[in-house]
């Protein structure tokens, strides 16, 4: 069964915010696996617009539609992008706004 994120998982949010690209403990990893195990169509991806210094958020089209670049979401680090997408996914799954 896919894991369903629960209210008590909130205690792991800070760990991800502080170190999004470092190894994670099993409980945080389970949350991330659940967030990442979604259909390709509509999935958030990044498109590198300036090598090693700028990425834009985009949506995968499942190869049925072109990749949609969301030009208003611009990041200057991979960590910043990870945290932004984590918040978006958290909101989509739980309804809770982490801003």
């Amino acid at each position: 069964m896919p894991y369903r994120i629960r209210p008590e998982d909130r205690i792991h949010i800070g760990d991800f915010r502080d170190r999004p690209l470092s190894p994670h403990g099993p409980e945080l990893q389970r949350i991330l696996n659940a967030m990442r195990d979604t259909p390709l169509e509509g999935r958030y991806i990044l498109v590198c617009t300036k090598p090693f210094r700028e990425w834009k958020l985009a949506r995968h089209g499942g190869r049925k539609r072109p990749i949609e670049i969301l030009h208003e979401h611009v990041f200057t680090s991979r960590e910043e992008a990870e945290w932004a997408v984590f918040r978006m996914r958290w909101k989509e799954i739980t309804g809770e706004d982490l801003n």
Partner: protein
């Protein structure tokens, strides 16, 4: 997106030889070209940065660009023959196994001119049903079976034209009958006598003008052309071996795809010898309609392997027009080079391209004397295996596997939009079947300097070709050791003699794919006193085959087990190119441990870790390597995942052939939980596969002496070379590698 893409007619070119470049300027724009020596392809500002040197070449010029396209999709053609004109009543039949009958119109077999509305054609129509059509040059008449074909089921497919009655019949007859499934259909309709066009017979596509379209996905087995209208109840007889005597007299063509499987020819066993050829390498040596499991090897029972699997995204040779060529000067030193093309200076790299190639030593006797002591064996077979890898575009789990968002480069976005560039050996075709062949005669967007791969761990994100420039940069910029570059294709062609001149061979970061000739050559080199620095992991893993007559294409059969992104079907474990059994070298009695002392054990693509010295490093046989190195920790830094141990990891395993005297010098530790044991290491799935739990999730660095004074040093990590340049090349990974290199270049025997 990308404005320029191109490819060369070869990877490896010797002084005095000419290399040709084919370019597509996507906006028909002019572009500039030059030849450069590539030194460091990693543009990460945390490292030395991108480095290349212009080579005065005479190729510097402005070029009139023009767009060139790729027509992907495999098919077969049989040249026009006058006997084909002389048809009145006739029957066309084949066994078919359609994999995507619902994708739209697909040609099966036809002597048909779409524009002229002339000839005959058996096809799958836009509703996923078998259909037949004839045209008299003025209009076409089509009749459909009325019932849909099920994907991946065998059918007898036939069309019968009865000239006397003026009727066209289509018959769709499933091989396997189910109780309540209705996929058995037939229909007939009045139709004029077809006007037979003066063009080729086409299989697995529909001819239109000078080209083909409506490519078919699936298998075709034993197509037949009979010069009379057979009664429908006699159709099965066409597929009996041998043919019933009363049918042989009316056979006009009986193509037997089980003949000449290693070639691109298709053979007609009928009276006219209407042989043809396949285009864009559909997969051969696949199970036919009558395969029953009694034999799993195609050449032992060819009668069960009479099918060809066609794909609408197969590509062998893009076939572009040449844009320019360059003859390599006789005095140019061996190395990694590229044709650099540009039509602008966009920061995201979309207005330039690099087409890499390798200048090898001269061929023949002159290339064997006066060479540098060191050669870099560029793993071009592995580059080809990964060519245009689209796992990050099509694989649902890719983000989970790497543990971070997928970051597409502009060339990834381009590939997303242009699947006709062809796939890698890691991908599946559009119909879900595995990609068994990969060619270099097409633009390969991930075989480029400046390219960051989705697989290459946090940081620089390099993988394969570009990651190997970490090594060649270190050789050129830091230790300043002259070296030759030789490639897998050279090694396959020339064997041990290619390696013989060198005191030491150094690998790329991930030399995963080898033919038996390449394997034997390296074993001979080591047994005869050669030295090998394996600065890599997951090497000598898959067995492959090069085509025996076509240049630049390899085959893999993902048989039995191993880390596999697709599975070869039962009965399809033997290469079509050579007849050799495919799969892991480990499953063929030749684990990599026998060559390099270690073998694939774990993989993960998030972050890398460090090594800790082990007791073997203090043994006098090896302690010289660690001169000038303080402390126990090695490589807790780097551009690839932040450490020298990462991505894929090898360990010593004596039961698999690690030599008994091999010293384990250092082992990595502290890996993340996204690095896990590889599946060929377990039968029952254990609960402790992850890096923080399983003791075998580590890299072992080993050293051992070989007969006749040689030696092997293996690092066991793909990430190793990403640490060489850290801190201005002043670090313990660089020092250790340098110590080994110096000693390995010293001719004094090891034992």
């Amino acid at each position: 997106m990308l404005k320029l893409i191109g490819y060369a007619d070869r990877f490896s070119v010797a002084p005095g030889e000419t290399i040709r470049f084919m370019v597509s300027a996507l906006e028909d724009q002019p572009y500039q070209a030059e030849i450069v020596r590539l030194i460091h392809g990693d543009a990460n500002p945390e490292g030395p940065g991108f480095k290349s040197e212009k080579v005065p070449s005479g190729a510097e010029a402005a070029h009139v660009g023009r767009r060139q396209d790729i027509r992907a999709g495999s098919w077969a053609r049989v040249p026009f023959h006058l006997r084909l004109k002389d048809l009145h009543s006739f029957t066309v039949a084949a066994m078919i196994w359609p994999t995507t009958p619902g994708k739209g119109r697909q040609g099966l077999i036809g002597h048909w001119d779409e524009e002229a509305l002339a000839g005959w054609l058996l096809e799958i129509d836009g509703q996923g049903r078998l259909a037949a059509r004839v045209g008299d040059g003025r209009a076409a008449v089509e009749v459909g079976s009325g019932v849909k074909l099920h994907p991946s089921h065998w059918y007898l497919a036939a069309m019968i034209y009865d000239a006397a009655a003026g009727t066209l019949t289509v018959i769709q007859r499933p091989v396997t009958a189910y109780g309540v499934v209705t996929d058995d259909g037939h229909a007939a309709q009045a139709a004029p006598a077809p006007l037979i066009p003066d063009c080729a017979i086409t299989m697995a596509a529909v001819r239109s003008g000078e080209g083909v379209g409506c490519h078919y996905n699936g298998r075709i087995d034993s197509p037949r052309l009979i010069a009379k209208a057979l009664p429908p109840e006699r159709l099965e007889g066409l597929f009996l071996q041998p043919l019933p005597a009363d049918l042989t007299g009316s056979i006009l063509a009986a193509w037997d795809f089980a003949q000449e499987i290693k070639t691109t020819r298709i053979v007609d066993a009928g009276p006219e010898g209407l042989d043809g050829e396949i285009v864009n390498l559909p997969t051969r040596a696949v199970r036919g309609w009558n395969w029953d499991g009694s034999e799993h090897c195609w050449w032992r029972k060819p009668a069960h392997y009479g099918a060809i699997h066609f794909h609408d995204d197969d590509i062998y040779d893009a076939g572009w027009q040449e844009d320019f060529r360059w003859t390599v000067p006789d005095d140019l030193r061996s190395g990694v080079y590229a044709a650099h093309l540009w039509s602008g200076d966009a920061e995201d790299g979309t207005e330039e391209d690099y087409i890499p190639f390798f200048v090898r030593p001269p061929r023949g006797a002159s290339g064997k004397v006066g060479r540098p002591r060191l050669a870099f064996l560029a793993p071009t077979a592995s580059y080809m295996a990964y060519a245009n890898d689209q796992s990050h575009i099509d694989a649902k789990d890719a983000e989970m596997v790497i543990g971070r968002l997928l970051a597409y480069q502009p060339s990834d976005v381009f590939l997303y939009d242009h699947p006709e560039l062809g796939r890698s050996l890691y991908d599946s075709h559009s119909d879900g079947s595995g990609v068994a062949y990969s060619s270099r005669l097409r633009p390969i967007l991930n075989l480029r300097p400046k390219y960051s791969s989705w697989l290459g761990a946090s940081g620089s994100g390099l993988w394969q070709f570009n990651a190997d420039t970490h090594l060649t940069d270190w050789l050129e910029s830091h230790v300043r050791e002259p070296f030759d570059v030789i490639t897998d294709e050279d090694l396959h062609a020339e064997g041990y003699e290619l390696l013989r001149p060198y005191q030491c061979i150094i690998t790329g970061t991930h030399p995963e794919y080898h033919t038996v000739r390449m394997w034997d050559a390296m074993k001979s080199y080591l047994d005869l006193g050669g030295r090998l620095m394996y600065v890599a992991a997951n090497g000598w893993y898959w067995r492959i085959a090069f085509h025996e007559s076509l240049p630049g294409v390899i085959e893999v059969r993902r048989a039995e087990d191993g880390i596999r992104t697709w599975f070869a079907d039962p009965g399809e474990y033997w290469h079509s190119f050579t007849g050799e059994y495919g799969g892991l070298w480990r499953r063929q009695g030749r684990p990599p441990n026998m060559l390099v002392g270690i073998g694939f054990m774990a993989q993960g693509f998030d972050v890398s870790s460090h090594y800790r010295r082990q007791p073997g490093s203090f043994d006098p046989r090896a302690s010289w390597m660690f001169e000038g190195i303080e402390g126990e920790i090695i490589g807790d830094f780097g551009l690839v995942g932040g450490g020298a141990a990462g991505l894929e990891l090898d360990t010593a395993k004596y039961a698999l052939g690690t030599p008994p005297h091999a010293l384990v010098l250092a082992s990595s530790e502290g890996h993340s939980d996204l690095i896990m044991l590889v599946n060929e290491e377990f039968g029952v799935v254990p609960p402790n596969l992850r890096g923080s739990e399983h003791p075998d999730v580590r890299a072992d660095m080993v050293f051992f002496e070989t007969p006749n004074g040689g030696a092997v040093w293996s690092t066991g990590s793909i990430a190793w070379c990403g640490s060489l340049s850290w801190n201005g090349y002043d670090n313990n990974v660089s020092r250790l590698t340098g110590n080994v290199l110096r000693r390995f270049l010293d001719p004094r025997p090891f034992a």
